[in-house]
């Protein structure tokens, strides 16, 4: 492995020496980072990545899936009407799906209660994705405590994944979490109920919004849950043709299977609603 020392790029100009990042080509920096990553993964002796389970998405991700030693952010996005839903049910569902992919081991779930209208995760529904007996639930009253608990969890060898539910977007905390995740090969996930400005150094950022489900023809029952998923940031992955790749996913509650809805079955929810009214 070639050793690249920072001094190799040092220039006689003292001002430019401070601005190392500008001097080194982006591609080279990326290469160094990949080498470092491969090294740290090798040391931890864990799988480098865990597939999401949907081929269309895994193709775009580095190592064919979600990196285990990295920070991933999931945020709730606006629905078809452009309004952010008052709850993050869809984002939580997708997060639970991701948590179910990591394992075995304890899942550390850190959350900050949101006061009077607090809605805690409900284990009977989560059992569709993973066994809630694996959960260690942590409630923190302050964001500092929440990030501290997450970092402590990332350092613990028996933890399969760490999830933090917060509205705070703290770039320093994100950086620390990312480093701790990389060092220990444990994935860190951040779930936000609101879209947040992209600040932290996460490996992937997902935006999930609930989408209208498909009823049986002629009926008005609630069909299988559908989510509009956007991959808004993909740090080490393959660039996609679209700027932000987006999929319509369907979660089948009976077969416990998450799949992309074929394009032919798409249709705007309003059109479908009209159709139903007419029919």
């Amino acid at each position: 492995m070639p050793v690249i020392s920072p001094s190799a790029f040092a220039s006689p100009d003292p001002r430019a020496a401070n601005d190392l990042a500008a001097l080194v080509p982006a591609a080279l920096r990326e290469k160094v980072r990949r080498l470092e990553r491969a090294n740290s993964i090798q040391r931890s002796g864990k799988a480098a990545a865990v597939p999401v389970g949907i081929p269309a998405i895994d193709v775009l991700l580095p190592e064919g899936g979600l990196l285990t030693g990295a920070l991933h952010e999931i945020e709730a996005g606006p629905g078809p009407s452009g309004r952010v839903a008052p709850h993050d049910g869809a984002a939580l569902g997708f997060t639970a799906h991701l948590l179910g992919r990591f394992g075995p081991g304890t899942i550390l779930w850190c959350r900050r209660p949101t006061g009077r209208f607090d809605a805690a995760p409900y284990a009977p529904a989560l059992s569709a994705w993973f066994d809630p007996a694996r959960l260690l639930m942590v409630t923190a009253q302050r964001d500092e405590d929440l990030f501290w608990a997450m970092e402590e969890g990332l350092r613990c060898p028996g933890i399969a994944a760490v999830l933090g539910e917060t509205r705070a977007a703290d770039p320093t905390a994100g950086r620390r979490l990312s480093l701790a995740a990389e060092k220990n090969g444990v994935p860190a996930l951040l779930l936000r109920a609101q879209p947040a400005p992209p600040q932290s150094v996460c490996a992937t950022r997902w935006r999930v919004a609930s989408a209208a489900s498909a009823s049986m023809p002629g009926l008005t029952d609630v069909g299988a849950a559908r989510w509009r998923l956007e991959l808004r940031r993909n740090r080490f992955g393959t660039p996609s043709a679209a700027e932000t790749p987006s999929w319509l996913l369907e979660w089948n509650d009976e077969t416990h299977c998450l799949a992309v809805v074929p394009q032919a079955l798409h249709g705007s929810p309003s059109a479908r609603f009209q159709e139903r009214l007419v029919g």
């Binding site: 569902g93 639970a96 304890t106 607090d118 059992s127 694996r134 613990c156 609930s210 489900s213 509009r228």
Partner: protein
Amino acid sequence: MRLADARALLPDLVTEAGEPQADCRLIETIAGWCDRYTPWVAIDPLGGALAEDIETACSAGGFGGDAGLLLDVTGCTHLFGEGESGERALLADLVMRLARRDLSCRAAMADTAGAAWALARFAERQADLHCPARGQRDALASLPVEGLRLDPPTMETFLKLGLRRIGDLYPMPRAPLVRRFGELPLNRLDQALGALAEPIEPRRIPPAFRTRLAFAEPIGRAEDIAAATSRLLAALCHQFEQAGVGARRLEIALYRVDGSVDRTSIGTSRPNRDNPKLMKLFEERLDELDPGFGVELMILSAPEVEAWSGTQDALPDQESPGIASGVDGTIDLADRLALRLGAGNVVRLLTRDSHLPERVQIAAPVSSKPAATGAWRRAADLKGARPTRLLQRPEPVEVTAFVPDDPPSVFRWRRHAHRIVRADGPERIANEWWRPRSDGTHPPAGILPPVRDYYRVEDDDGGRFWLFRDGPYQLAANGQPTARWFLHGFCA
């Protein structure tokens, strides 16, 4: 003597109102301070002013101060010197240290609590305050009978009969005494002489495992306290190993030079005697301790210990591969988190066999046994679709429904109207009739318990909610059917 009589004798008498509660607090503080000599400290229940029931207050309570402390120093005096000289040194040390704080006291030491009690109050010479081993019979003989801790009426009768000294009772035949005065006087005498056991009930249960470290010079720096804690911990962990136990709770007490005591404790969710791990837990807490002007003594004790199951930890637990095994360090992680965030904030989820959605999931301490693998899945499979988030308490919503028994067409929650496009339901969940109501009474027979009709609905924006109607529609005063609707959760 009454205050008016006293004022008549001495007009410029200075008076202060009595403060029994402040006295009690002071005695508590001194008792806590006395832990430096022995863990077995009790506040004398017969002290005159401090006795809860004035009837039980002893006639001698008023002699030489009302309050008393009983210290069982068995096995503690060797720290001050060998044999009798150590005992005398301990007494002198106790009196000297209290005198330095302007507290006058008389301390006596004897084989029995009763003898020490009498000596402390009625001994005439300083040398008599320390009673040699098995010497209480001679030492008590010349003391007044008040030294026997008797109630005032018995006392008066004794004096009338001319029984003034404790020694006067020695030759008396026992049977007539018991017939005349009951068993109490002779029991007291036997207790004082050591013929009858008199257990002392300690103020705090003395821990079985305890180490102490006294400093020649008071220490105050945080690093010094940490280093001392580490040394104490090493000694205590050695004790644990010998006894085959592990600590569930550890307490460290700092005895400051000004006589006050600062304590803090750590808890673990399973028996632990791993020195570095316990030290790590203590490091979180040591900042909270205030050394004040300096610490002269530190005591580390383990109030709660449990049998050590260390050998079993190495085997993976087949039944519950989750947190229970603890080999992977999750238990230690949980301890560390609980120490900073509070034990109630680090929990695992257990399932409960119930129909009511809010009762199914309970938060349990990490030390509890986790739900069996697949128990959650089995419980969930028996029920209808459940939300991924459940509101702590259902929130009332305003609804519009075309037909009373149909799901609503619009519901309004937090000032926003959600037009419902799809709905599933109802799933009827009745209150569990076998459980008492919130006020503790059972519903009378024949009356159906209230039911909830749950609907899973989807609004035109794709959001999925879990609503319920509380009870059936009823006719309101204006003849309109009404029902109360609530939002209970959010679906994926």
